[in-house]
Amino acid sequence: MKQYFNKFIYILISALFLYSCEDVATNVKIKQVEKQIVVQCFISPDDDTVKAMLSWSLPVIGTSYSTKPELINNASVIIYNNNISDTLEWNNNLELYTISTSKFKINKGETYYLQVKLLDGKNVFANCTVPATQNNTLALYKVDSMTNSWDETIIEYTYKYNNHSNSQNNYYRISSEINVYSEYDEYVQGDFKSKNEIKNDNYYTNSLYSFSNEPIYVKAYIINSDYNYFQYHKTLQNAQNSFGIFSEPNIIFSNIKGGLGCFGAYYSYSVENKIR
């Protein structure tokens, strides 16, 4: 009897402390959204093609995890600046809307507009300005490597900010492409810094682990971007890295009026080194 009594007491106490329950939330003020047009397009004077990806967003509530967001391939996509206008055509091979920059030139310092219209009349709009050429810019001057006690090859990039300018609001991304023949090929998303966060001397390091003795090529990039490109990539990176039930969710940047996604601009510098 005593044994049963003890069991009862323990169950009772445990039940009190695990006294939580779950149910479908019904009385929450959550905006019920319809699917929205998502535009992702990054333009650069360095590129040979302007590419735009169009897709639908997928409402979270009422859909399943296995449902994949759909691409949009029947839209009218127009890019223009103050002088000329042209249309991006659907490329079935890439599943993107594209136009060659030999046909529609992207220039530094200019503002561009992107308009997307669907057959049913839905449309979204965005604009961005390509950063102007600057005499004062970041320069990457060294790519180096070392091996640590765990046999990892540490790649270190050193970059320097020259002629600090207060006149422009600049945004930077320090990225790299690492290639170890047959073993490794990846893009490092990189570090995002606004002008105020850039110091005169900056060090950025990344490590990779390589078993072979094959050559390692590192191509390091400094991307000078507009605010849209910078914020969008920064929030995407935060979203990729975040986890935890109590952590604040990452809000993804968008400059697409009437929709989601990003229309941003950039140009880049690069330095390539063979480090082994």
Binding site: Y10, V28, F42, K51, E95, T235, F246
Partner: protein
């Protein structure tokens, strides 16, 4: 006399004109202490009133009063809520020292006379509520654990955090913006069990006072509120005590004289025993290898000594700790020998405070208090493991330690002025992160890093409660605060003007106005806002500026003397500057990582935080009845809080999580007869502002070296499904409401009084949201362990804790 004049010169530089008034009629001073009959506990806030001149004063925080009036014969009345009024006939022809003893109302049938001097309309202070300890003990509480913070949450202008949490959000401010003081010592993390209980044991408390605005100059260092608590001094006449057994903890208090009438002590303690009860189950389930559990305890002690008629010494301390522990021990046979494996893990946090206060009556108009104060908060993780002969230890901790000296002087030159001036110097020592690793097998990997930050905070203040004619009372004051960071050197100095006043429109009805500027030099870095011990206290630096608030409040206060209740309505507008939060994606882990880096310059939690501004405005209504068989209050708040950070939500203004449009509470306590007391509460609050997922889409990274956007076909690896929330905190949780009820049965026994309390938390079993997540229709839930089918439709699921919880507690108050 020389001493008296010296203090006047030092401390009352703003009030000099008041001493130049010519004195034609001889004036004398009545001064002394007011204390509880029997225990001789000093009583703060007691009204001392002389009807013939329609003037009076109140006792200060230490039970001292002084009143200077012309020579006369008159009646002086001492009155205090819950105590019988005491009258003395005085023939004042010389200075008199008079100590009054007030007796508690014990019998229900005794007539309780509401005294006008206890009214709220007569006080210049606004946005200030004192919580009677008796009510605190009678209001129903979850699992019978009486909690001062949960009662404060029931007051208008105070928002609660999540379900069951003790976090306090006053007029749009965060939980870090509350100055929580226990016997002059600040308490940095006032939470047990991850915020479900506060660290204050109601058995040891004498008074609790909340100030939300119109802050007197004596308070500084936080933006939004002051919660000032005093511990009981201890009974000087006889030894008494109380112990109680509740659902999750037991507690006891004992107090009594050290030397009868001259000195006394009080000791109180509380400990949870959930770990002890669950230990056999854990041992059984782990086949004797594991012991684990969680407990918290706290311990309060106080001694006080009457050294001479003019000197008193108080020594008090608090020590509390939360500990989660795991012990694992196993022995197994391998490789022809027995190998033992042992692991010990502790996750702990706790506060320690100590105060030594010397009260010295310099004259019948001057009262000096000098305190030495220590406060410490530590959060730590200890890991010890032993595998055969290999030993590994890891110790991590963070914390803050304060050492302070505080000196205040109360100057009461006449009935028109009551001045308080003083100085507080604090040396803060921050340890944002310290780590030590020892490995017997790999001594080269042993590592120790303890970096601290030392700062000095100073506050010099003076305030004067003055009466202008019969209609106007003002509390004007000035505080000069400074904060010096030693490395890299940086000093902030700020002037904080304070003002509050009332204008008596008709007897019992007054209008009030207040203004306060506050500066806060300490920041709490919190990811969650739910008061986890991992939240870090950090100081201002050359980069991170002090937080500042400006608050204006106005309102009306009305006393309904015939019915024994009071009503107030207040409107406020508060601006918050340089408030601090983590940048998106940063947490205490990233901060700790950076602190551990070798380069001192890169100890940069500063790079992980962002500062912004906020504003809060609203209206609060309080209808309160403090005396009689039926007591309680009705409170309602209508408010808006908005914040803006350049680096959060892309610089757009948003509602913080604790923004709550409507907040209402009803508290009722009814003494049915001398043996039975019934109490009930009902609370309602608009749901918190949160970010809930609305839609998803494929986000594509641009790859450096590639032309624009990647095709999904070729570079799917650079894409991810991202969630869109429609902006920061754009959704609202379901409204929160709940009713609690409690019945206390008291019985007088030979050796004391026995109380059995039966209470029900969440009487109508409301499922209030604790958090939400996205689940699917086939998903059995976080506790269910079934991850569902990926083809099932997604739903927003709500997790609720603390549904209907009945509890029973027993306490016995013994008398010697």
């Amino acid at each position: 006399m020389l001493k008296y004049k010296t203090f006047l010169l030092i401390f009352s530089f703003l009030q000099l004109p008041i001493f130049t008034i010519a004195q034609q009629i001889p004036k004398y001073t009545i001064s002394g202490y007011v204390q509880e009959k029997g225990s001789k506990e000093l009583l703060p806030g007691v009204s001392v009133y002389i009807p013939s001149i329609k003037n009076g004063t109140v006792t200060n925080s230490y039970g001292f009063y002084s009143i200077t009036i012309p020579k006369d014969t008159f009646t002086i009345i001492f009155s205090y809520v819950g105590f019988k009024k005491k009258l003395f006939l005085i023939n004042l022809n010389q200075d008199i020292e008079l100590t009054a003893e007030l007796e508690l109302f014990n019998e229900l049938n005794e007539i309780v006379i509401t005294d006008k001097r206890n009214s709220i309309s007569d006080k210049p202070q606004m946005s200030n509520i004192d919580i009677p300890i008796k009510q605190l003990k009678e209001i129903p509480a979850i699992m019978g654990e009486k909690d001062v913070f949960k009662v404060i949450q029931l007051l208008p202008g105070v928002q609660k955090g999540s379900e069951g949490q003790t976090g306090i959000y006053v007029r749009g401010g965060g939980p870090d913006q509350n100055l929580i003081i226990l016997d002059d010592a600040p308490v940095y993390n006032a939470q047990h069990l991850f915020g479900f209980f506060s660290v204050f044991n109601g058995d040891a408390l004498k008074s609790v006072e909340l100030t939300k605005g119109g802050f007197p100059a004596r308070f500084g260092g936080r933006l939004s509120s002051v919660i000032e608590m005093q511990m009981k001094d201890g009974n000087k006449e006889k030894t008494t005590g109380e112990f109680s057994i509740g659902a999750i903890s037991s507690r006891g208090v004992i107090e009594g004289p050290i030397k009868k009438g001259k000195s006394s002590f009080l000791i109180s303690a509380r400990r949870t025993y959930f770990d002890i009860l669950t230990q056999p189950i854990i041992l059984l389930a782990s086949e004797g290898t594991t012991r684990s559990g969680y407990y918290f305890y706290d311990f309060n002690a106080k001694c006080n000594f009457i050294l001479t008629p003019k000197d008193r010494l108080f020594i008090s301390g608090y020590f509390g700790k939360d500990n989660m522990y795991l012990r694992y021990k196993e022995k197994y046979y391998d490789d022809n020998k027995y190998i033992s494996l042992e692991e010990k893990f502790n996750f702990y946090w706790g506060n320690r405070t100590a105060t030594a206060r010397w009260a010295h009556q310099l004259s019948n108009k001057l009262y000096l208090n000098t305190s030495a104060i220590y406060s410490n908060f530590t959060f730590g993780i200890d890991l010890n493991s032993k595998y055969d002969n290999e030993k590994f230890t890891l110790k991590y901790y963070s914390g803050i330690s304060d050492l302070s000296i505080k000196s205040t002087v109360d100057i009461i030159p006449n009935t028109m002025h009551s001045i308080k001036s003083g100085i507080l110097i604090t040396r803060h020592f921050f340890t944002p992160s310290a780590i030590a690793i020892k490995n017997s097998e790999l001594p080269e990997s042993n590592y120790e890093n303890k970096k601290g930050l030392e700062t000095i905070e100073t506050g010099i203040f003076t305030e004067d409660i003055m009466k202008i004619g019969k209609k106007i009372q003002l509390n004007t004051g000035l505080r000069i605060s400074s904060f010096s960071v030693l490395k890299p050197s940086k000093t902030y100095i700020n002037i904080e003007p304070r003002f509050s006043g009332n204008y008596i429109i008709t007897p019992g009805l007054s209008s009030k106005l207040s203004w306060a500027t506050m500066n806060q030099y300490l920041h709490l870095l919190s990811n969650t806002g739910i008061g986890l011990p991992t939240d870090l206290w950090v100081p201002v630096t050359d980069k991170v500026k002090p937080q500042r608030s400006h608050q204006i409040a106005a309102g009306f206060a009305k006393d309904f003397y015939d019915y024994g209740f009071s009503a107030s309505i207040e409107g406020y507008y508060k601006l918050l500057e340089n408030i601090i939060t983590y940048k998106d994606g940063a947490s205490f882990i990233t901060v700790a990582d950076e602190i551990d880096s070798e380069d001192t310059k890169s100890i940069d939690w500063q790079n992980n935080v962002t500062q912004g501004n906020g504003k809060s405005y609203g209206t609060e209504i309080l209808l309160q009845k403090k005396e009689g068989k039926f007591t309680g209050w009705i409170g309602y708040t209508l408010s808006w809080t908005k914040v803006k950070f350049n680096e959060i939500n892309f610089g757009k203004e948003f509602f913080p999580r604790h923004d709550r449009r409507h907040d209402a509470s009803i508290v009722g306590i009814y003494e049915l007869n001398k043996n039975i007391t019934i109490s009930a509460t009902w609370v309602y609050g608009t749901g918190n502002a949160i970010s809930l997922p609305q839609s998803e889409f494929i986000g594509i990274h641009h790859n450096p070296g590639q032309s624009g956007i990647s095709s999904l076909k070729n570079y799917y690896i650079n894409s991810l499904i991202v969630t869109e929330y429609g902006g920061k905190n754009s959704s609202r949780m379901a409204p929160y409401h709940r009713a609690d009820i409690s019945v206390m049965f008291k019985k007088q026994k030979k050796k004391g009084e026995r109380t059995i309390e039966l209470s029900v938390y969440n009487l109508y079993n409301r499922a209030n949201p604790f958090f939400y997540y996205i689940g699917t229709s086939g998903y059995k839930g976080i506790l269910g362990g079934d991850w569902g089918n990926s083809d099932s439709l997604r739903q927003l699921k709500q997790v609720s804790i603390f549904r209907l919880i009945p509890s029973l507690s027993y306490s016995f108050k013994f008398k010697n």
